[in-house]
Amino acid sequence: MVSIDVWNASVDFPIFDAKSRSLKKLALGKVGGKIGSEGRVPIIEALHDITLSLKDGARVGLVGHNGAGKSTLLRLLAGIYEPTRGHSRIIGKVAPVFDLGVGMDPEISGYENIMIRGLFLGMTRKEMEKRVDDIAEFTELGDYLQMPLRTYSTGMRVRLALGVVTSINPEILLLDEGIGAVDAAFMAKARDRLKDLVKRSGLLVFANHSDEFLIEFCDTAIWMDEGHVKMHGGLREVLTAYKGHDPFERISPELLARLGHTSPVLSGNGGE
């Protein structure tokens, strides 16, 4: 059973400047009297007292201003940061898509990058070899896959990353914003695959600024503000409070048509 539970978790970053990161200062500090070395290190409280419980089937949109802690929260949920205070428990295989450049080596070919990214996401080599053709077809990169990644444009990298992540079966899918760099035609194609992927994955947390994406993929939402969970509830409710207007009144007719029968949001009236 896939789930993420977080109890009163805080994430504090110690900010070591070049000097306080050295042993010398720590040693001298000890000699000079009782000045706690921790006390002199400035701390950034990125997340503060987060309590969440996400169960199998959750489709959560993550909204908030820049620097509100969305990316940090995603990393907390991925298990990359263990809370400095409080607890977290993550059950399930996590597939994060954060920074699209990381885990990709610019000097090696697209094919090899597909392999490495897949292995990092917990696949075996054999499984990835089976999927490579499918990914190649989906990304439409063709012969470019033989080229080193440094020759790729941003959009092509996004295609590659989306191709890999949508070809595997993650239990927990965490998507950060930044997958908007691809052209519209590819996005339409990716949307279908993402949708399919979301259906397969047990749990989705998706940080995005686009109403359309959120409405399409999510049914609940978390509004982050200054490291706190400001609001957690139905998507429509949270988006209305966050944006100051009801996004469902402004969605384009074609999105409405596309959602039509599939949207859990409209039928569910945006949660309770």
């Binding site: 309590t51 920074d99 090899e112």
Partner: protein
């Protein structure tokens, strides 16, 4: 507004402590389960380094070959020893030393260099260490070609009892004991993992450690019997085992690590006290590394 999430929220966890030996062991175990990942990455690193060169990884072998040849010739002339026995000695010593120095210097840097991966993909931190050690093992394998060539050339000088330095001990020559090099090297690699776990975590927090290690490692090279023979010490001290000068080698842990791999490969007498010391370091080092892993494993992603 958190009603939807807190209503059915389970009570505080029974025992989800991030600082426990269980989690430390789990990190190492999961890293082992990921061996396909670091195995692939290690290969990739080597291919990567020589990507656009014509002869590729052969450069590793060639550079080792020339270094060993030059050092072996130079020091055999300086020490007035027989090239036929001294050149293989220097070659093997230098190959093993190269592995050790690679693991130690890259080990201090292992998490700092992998900052991007650590911050973006959830994986046991030991994975990065395993990738680095595996890469060094592959370098070692490339360098072993030099050993095989040297062995083929000087085989007739090594297959019977011989001396390296005049007053040094008599070595029995190559025999079945050569297979002891395999457990010897496995022990060396196992130790490389704890060394880079330990120093890697500490260096991530205190960025002075890598330069300190880098400046001391050269000193260690000259203190270790690699381009000079430990038998020289016996000549200097007149064979007295209690002379303090004997301790120059004996107190240097690197000497024992070099010896467990080098001695079998050259047909030197098996000296079990090296094995005992290496075994002791393995146990004590892994214990220290696990304590560090227990306490600071979760902090690495904050520190990088």
């Amino acid at each position: 507004m958190q009603a939807t999430s807190t209503l059915d929220h389970p009570e505080a966890p029974p025992a989800v402590r991030s600082r426990s030996f269980k989690r430390a062991f789990a990190d190492v175990r999961e890293a082992w389960d990921h061996r396909e990942l670091w195995g692939h990455l290690g290969w990739q690193d080597i291919k990567q380094r020589y990507r656009r060169s014509v002869i590729g990884p052969l450069w590793i072998t060639i550079s080792m070959g020339t270094t060993a040849l030059a050092l072996g010739l130079l020091y055999s002339v300086l020490f007035k020893t027989d090239v036929a026995t001294f050149l293989p000695y220097v070659t093997v010593g230098f190959i093993v030393w190269n592995f050790i120095v690679g693991c130690v210097t890259e080990g201090t840097d292992v998490f700092i260099a992998n900052e991007g991966l650590i911050k973006h993909l959830p994986a046991p931190i030991t994975v990065h260490v395993m990738r680095m050690v595996w890469r060094q093992v592959l370098f070692f394998a490339h360098n072993l070609v030099v050993y095989l060539v040297v062995l083929a050339i000087f085989f007739t000088s090594l297959n019977h009892d011989y001396k390296i330095s005049e007053n040094g001990p008599v070595h029995p020559g190559l025999s079945w004991t050569i297979v002891l090099a395999i457990p010897g090297f496995v022990l060396l690699a196992v130790n490389a993992v704890w060394v880079s776990l330990l120093f890697g975590v500490i260096s991530t927090r205190f960025r002075d450690i890598p330069p300190v290690v880098n400046s001391f490692i050269n000193l260690v090279f000259f203190m270790t019997p690699i381009v000079w023979d430990a038998g020289v010490l016996q000549r200097v001290t007149g064979g007295g085992n209690n002379d303090w000068r004997m301790l120059i080698a004996e107190l240097n842990p690197v000497y024992h690590f070099v010896e467990v791999v080098r001695a079998p490969l050259l047909g030197h007498a098996v000296d079990w006290h090296h094995w005992a010391i290496v075994g002791g370091f393995t146990v004590a080092g892994w214990f220290a590394a696990l304590v560090i892993l227990r306490n600071y494993r979760a902090r690495v992603s904050y520190w990088v």
